[in-house]
Symmetry: C2
Subunit: 127 residues, 2 copies
DNA sequence: CTGAATCCTAAAGGATACTG
DNA sequence: CAGTATCCTTTAGGATTCAG
């Protein structure tokens, strides 16, 4: 609770997140709040430009349809860029745009928190 | 790429995110990757313990069913705690557990990124 | 007021097969 | 290799109503 100064800054906060599309938290959630999006971005952050199957291997479990769909959505939001690097043996590279790269703090925060969560003894006490 | 020291930690990274449930990024995504969860947590971070309707007002747009459902899910994952503070005029307080509080960096990272995204001129150049 | 129950729709996620 | 096309199941999200 150290975020807001006081005065007018505070009321703005009221407006953001009680609103429609323009809540920054919801905005981010809308863009990467899908099941596989954060992992895909994470993989691209770690591995750099990747081919389709390479990406599919790294994400595992994901079907080509879902991966394709997710990538399309990420492209649509300018988070991911698709580059055809070879025509004959058709090859493609998916990479992060600057928008996508800028997600690093978010993804890493999610990763760090997830690690912490996974390491917790899950406390046996009553919920 | 400053995430892991080296040793066994690094190779673990490969394994984590090609795996099942135990990918920290996916774990976090599973817990707060729903449409309204981040906003709810954000509201609770900003406002502290809140009543049901108060929360609904703050989140806006959300229906009581979805809010109730979301809160139940958050409770189930020990991110939110529900406390009955009055029986006669039935009143309840929802607040963050320590798990929930620990999400602050994630939520704020999302908020900050969202703000940045919203402020971008959306670049008129080709996608 | 708090919030659970019901019902419904849209969309996400997934399995499989097929194409350029 | 890099997807698309179908079809199907699950679930998230939402409107409304009901109950404590």
């Amino acid at each position: 609770m150290d975020d807001l100064p006081d005065e007018d800054g505070t009321e703005k906060l009221e407006v953001w997140c009680a609103g429609e599309e323009w809540c920054p938290v919801t905005t981010t959630a809308s863009l990467i709040g899908k099941k596989w999006h954060p992992v895909i971005v994470h993989r691209l952050l770690e591995h750099g430009p990747s081919g389709f199957n390479e990406l599919q291997e790294n994400v595992d479990g994901i079907s080509s349809k879902v991966l394709s769909d997710s990538l399309e959505d990420l492209e649509d939001n300018q988070l991911v860029e698709r580059e055809i690097i070879s025509e004959k043996p058709f090859r493609v590279h998916y990479s992060l745009t600057e928008y996508g790269e800028s997600l690093q703090p978010v993804i890493y925060a999610m990763r760090d928190w997830g690690m912490q969560y996974l390491n917790e003894p899950d406390d046996g006490s009553a919920a």
